[in-house]
């Protein structure tokens, strides 16, 4: 399985974790946050999104949570909220650090090669 301590996260997985880092959200809000935060590069479709959610829940990076206090009880529309677990938060931090290091390397090389040419 793709999700695990050290294995790389897929882009969609990363963005779902990123979206939940701000606090508990329901599925629709996750989809919107992912679309916005990826700058439109990812358009999460319902099927793929929930497979990712299922995988993250199975590997205990994300857990279902009680709706935030102010959320009105919506009759007929059972919205489930998801939140990061401690493990999820740790993994997201690790991944963010890794990305930052990669970005730094990339920037350095691009600057160098531009300087050379």
């Amino acid at each position: 399985m793709a999700v695990g301590g050290s294995a790389a996260l897929s882009r969609l997985e990363f963005h779902v974790l990123l979206a939940l880092a701000g606090g508990p959200l329901h599925g629709y809000a996750v989809a919107e946050a992912v679309a916005a935060e990826s700058g439109g590069a990812l358009v999460p479709r319902a099927g793929s999104l929930y497979r990712v959610v299922a995988r993250l829940v199975s590997s205990r990076l994300v857990a279902e949570t009680a709706p935030p206090g102010e959320a009105p009880a919506h009759p007929g529309l059972a919205r489930r909220y998801y939140a990061l677990t401690a493990a999820g938060r740790r993994l997201l931090a690790e991944e963010a650090g890794r990305l930052k290091r990669s970005a730094a390397v990339a920037e350095e090389r691009l600057t160098l090669s531009r300087g050379r040419s």
Binding site: M1, G27, Y28, A31, V43, R45, A46, G47, S48, L49, Y50, R51, V53, A54, R55, V57, S58, L77, A78, R79, R80
Partner: protein
């Protein structure tokens, strides 16, 4: 669509579905609603992307689950589970079995894919053009109103005039809003561009009648009079680069300066003939001239009003018109005979293209049926070969349902494969179809592969799975247990009968299509053979409309055009030139009442004829033969001598059996009397299908200086270089009239081709469909006979060992094939008698039940059938008795 999307969630495995199903469905519904708010196209795109993603994720989820649930809960919905489990086991087994028979799978899926793909492509066109509602609010309440006057000499149906509009609008109690409009081609001019475009002049009520809103700016109201214009989205984009600042600009439209007040959305196309802008208008009482039947009327009825009720009310209302508006005695008589014609707007706008499109879709459906019969036959043969296997299963306790399911699973897998290929095929086929389609099919540019295509392909795949799989499945459910005996064999009469029935059915269906395309082919040939009265080869036609202050009366117009004719004639390679007001095949002529000399103006003797103007070497350029008298000379145009040339039909109608030369007739045009100086051959003005019209040709100027001025005649140029002359013509026009755009530039040969494109397109598509059906039918027959021969190898071997000759064996097998084909042909002929009635409106010069075509096509079908039987027969006759007996 939303419900279909949500239904796809069921593809996920139950565990995933129970935990996330509702959420996925909720997200889909919310996403769809949001996309729908952005328009149909966005919604379609969303549905497609979401459906593709659902299928992909569901398959991955089944192969590689991300979700499992505690064991305790698995026991839920046990019945459902067992069915699904059983089906998925059967499907897996079917996939394995089909993988072992790649040839069978490829032929069966390929045949179905071809037929489903073609039908899905045609359905996509029908869906967008015919089934998609027009983009107006409550479109079922919009009607088109026209006039008829049974018993008069007017055409069966004709336009109304503005007094009807005023009267309807004030008095009708069933109409909510009504508008009248005229459409024409006129000049649009800006500082840097001038062109002739299609425009419409509706009363300001048009937009509220249709329930349309502008994209930018506002819509006209009564106070705008004739000073405001609304632009189409296409015009806004192409002329003004989509600049919102266009609202408020002054444009020169149809010879007057008018203000742009609004821009319409792209889907607003009314009438759907390429109209680019709408000029505001309000008809006042003082403008009414009763009896100028030139206006179209569109109305919105109150809820629940039927077209019949409205027609009755409007007919009654019209009776009051002469009393209220006056008019001639002729007008009063016409109103007595008047019956309002009311039909749904959609029918009016799409009526002409509906028949051919439905016919093509039906032809696609027939091909699909033939393909299904073919594949069903393949499955029957396959089931036959598995009788032993099935018998063993039955003997060790498999239920009937189980055996049926196993067979159906194979059909489902084959059909699913076919459906997937069919969508790809439709994607390839659709652009070809659209390119070949005749111009003038509304909304053709909106046709594209979409959710409708996918749904149709999916539905067709499921239906064909049922059609192909059911018969073999039922057969398989009762396997012949005697097969279990050592060496058990022999196919029963009943089994063979089913296959023969399928082949006969295929033959019948293919024959119906063959006869249909045969009739269209005959019509096409008949139309090609029609002599239109003119020669279309090497003739270029174009128009331009000079707007110059000195062109103020008839003679100066005439001089301008005659001078230009001389310049044209001086171009290198030009044989002759002429001009005419309405060139055949391009524009219709206006009907006008004429009165032979001596008859009272308002008497019954008035005859409705068509009037046009001609000058230069028009008749020689067009190859219209001069039958008596002379053609026009320069003086006729310049001095207004009041001479006229008439067509043969007109001469025969007005002066039967007499010499028309020197006779005089009075026309409503310019209200003058003209003298006939020549008689010319009849021409077919609008289409090769109509009878020739009675036609009066007038010279460019009338007997009085102002009696007529024609602003934009069509020039005709006979030249071997007709195809390439346009650029030189434009340059010539620029020299004499830099202000005038050159437009309607065509070769007559091109116009003649266009006039037949509807028929040739239908013919081509139907011919392809019937060719396909013929091949499929032949392959089916061949397959069945081959199988029969293989099965009877032993019997044939014994016969030959006992002294039967090869020819006798061949005759036996071919005879068996011939009986099946004959039965099919008989049924097919009966089917064709019923079906060709639908083609009637497309046929020309041939009856729907044309004996020659029926006989020829039946003979062709029989010949193909015999050929298909002969190959297996020949193989049977080469059976070596020794080999066949040793095979035991």
């Amino acid at each position: 669509v939303k419900r279909a999307l949500v239904a796809l969630v069921r593809l996920f495995p139950p565990a995933f579905r129970r935990r996330f199903g509702d959420e996925v469905a909720g997200l889909l519904a919310a996403g769809y609603d949001r996309a729908r708010a952005r328009g149909r196209r966005a919604a379609g795109g969303f549905a497609l992307a979401a459906a593709a993603d659902l299928v992909r994720s569901a398959v991955s989820e089944r192969l590689n689950p991300t979700w499992s649930e505690p064991r305790a809960r698995r026991a839920e919905e046990p019945e459902m589970r067992s069915t699904i489990d059983a089906w998925s086991a059967d499907l897996r087994q079917a996939v394995r079995a089909l993988r072992r028979a790649p040839g069978f799978t490829a032929v069966a899926a390929g045949t179905l894919a071809l037929a489903i793909g073609a039908t899905a492509g045609l359905y996509t066109v029908v869906d967008t053009v015919l089934l998609e509602p027009l983009p107006y609010a409550a479109v079922d309440r919009l009607v088109h109103v026209a006039a008829s006057a049974p018993g008069s000499d007017m055409p069966p149906e004709f336009s109304l005039s503005s007094e009807f509009y005023l009267h309807y609008r004030e008095r009708s109690r069933l109409v909510e809003e009504v508008s009248t409009y005229n459409s024409f081609t006129s000049t649009l001019r800006t500082a840097d561009r001038v062109e002739r475009i299609r425009m419409s002049w509706p009363t300001w009520t048009l937009f509220s009648t249709l329930g349309a809103r502008p994209l930018l700016g506002r819509l006209p109201n009564a106070a705008d009079e004739e000073n405001a214009v609304v632009l189409s989205h296409a015009l806004w984009q192409s002329w003004f680069g989509g600049d919102p600042g266009v609202v408020g600009r002054e444009l020169d439209v149809n010879g007057a300066s008018r203000t742009v007040i609004g821009v319409m959305a792209p889907e607003f196309q009314f009438p759907n003939d390429g109209t680019q802008l709408w000029i505001s208008n309000e008809i006042g009482l003082e403008e009414i001239r009763p009896g100028r039947f030139q206006s179209r009327i569109v109305a919105r009825t109150k809820p629940g009003v039927t077209p019949e009720q409205l027609a009755a009310e409007l007919t009654t209302l019209a009776r009051q018109l002469p009393e209220r508006f006056g008019g001639t005695a002729n007008y009063a008589r016409l109103i007595e005979q008047h019956r309002a014609v009311v039909r749904p707007l959609a029918e009016q706008l799409l009526g002409g293209v509906a028949t051919p499109l439905w016919i093509l879709l039906a032809a696609g459906g027939v091909v699909l049926l033939v393909a299904c019969a073919n594949v069903a036959n393949l499955f029957l043969v396959r089931a036959e070969a598995r009788q032993r296997d099935l018998a063993v299963r039955r003997a060790i306790g498999a239920g009937r349902a189980q055996l049926v399911r196993l067979q159906m699973a194979e059909a489902l897998v084959v059909a699913a494969l076919a459906g997937a290929f069919a969508v790809g095929l439709a994607a390839l086929l659709l652009p070809v179809l659209l390119r070949a389609a005749p111009a003038g099919i509304p909304r053709l540019d909106e046709v594209g592969l979409g959710a409708a295509t996918l749904l149709f392909a999916a539905a067709a795949a499921v239906a064909s799975a049922l059609a192909c799989g059911l018969l073999p499945a039922l057969r398989a459910s009762a396997p012949d247990l005697t097969r279990l005996r050592e060496g058990g064999r022999g196919s029963t009469r009943r089994r063979r009968w089913a296959r023969h029935l399928l082949v006969a059915g295929q033959t019948a269906l293919a024959l119906v299509l063959l006869i249909g395309s045969g009739l269209l082919l005959r019509s096409f040939a008949e139309l090609r053979a029609v002599d239109p009265g003119y020669d279309v080869a090497s003739v270029l036609t174009f128009q331009f409309a000079p707007q110059q202050a000195q062109l103020a009366d008839g003679p100066s117009w005439a001089r301008f055009h005659l001078d230009f004719l001389d310049r044209l004639a001086a171009l290198p390679g030009v044989e002759s030139v002429g001009l005419v007001e309405n060139v055949p095949l391009n524009e219709g002529t206006a009907p006008v009442r004429v009165f032979p000399e001596g008859a009272a103006i308002d008497a019954e003797a008035g005859t409705l004829v068509n009037v046009t103007f001609a000058a230069g070497d028009y008749f020689r350029t067009m190859g219209v033969a001069l039958e008596a008298g002379r053609s026009f000379v320069a003086d006729d145009h310049l001095l207004g001598t009041g001479n006229a040339v008439v067509s043969r039909t007109l001469a025969n109608r007005l002066w039967p059996g007499e010499d028309p030369l020197g006779r005089r007739l009075r026309t409503q045009v310019g209200d003058v009397t003209v003298t006939v100086v020549g008689v010319v051959e009849d021409v077919l003005q609008d289409s090769f299908r109509d009878a020739p019209q009675a036609l009066v040709y007038l010279p460019l100027a009338g007997p009085k200086p102002d009696s007529w001025q024609i602003s934009s005649p069509a020039y005709v140029v006979k030249s071997a270089r007709a195809e390439t002359l346009a650029a030189e013509v434009r340059e010539l026009v620029r020299q004499v009239a830099p202000e005038a755009p050159v437009y309607r530039v065509f070769t007559l040969a091109g116009l003649a081709r266009d006039s037949m494109v509807e028929l040739s397109f239908t013919l081509l598509t139907l011919a392809i469909a019937s060719g396909l059906a013929l091949v499929l039918g032949a392959v089916g027959l061949y397959g069945v006979l081959s199988y029969v021969v293989a099965e009877r190898t032993r019997e044939i071997g014994v016969r030959m060992a006992l002294g039967a000759r090869a020819t006798e064996v061949r005759r036996m097998v071919v005879g068996q094939g011939a009986r099946v084909v004959l039965a099919g042909v008989a049924v097919g002929v009966l089917g064709a008698v019923a079906a060709t009635r639908a083609l009637e409106s497309l046929l020309f010069g041939v009856a729907p039940v044309d004996l020659g075509t029926f006989a020829a096509m039946s003979a062709a079908m029989l010949a193909v059938g015999l050929l298909a039987s002969y190959v297996p027969a020949w193989r049977a006759s080469r059976v070596s008795p020794v080999v066949s007996l040793r095979a035991e």
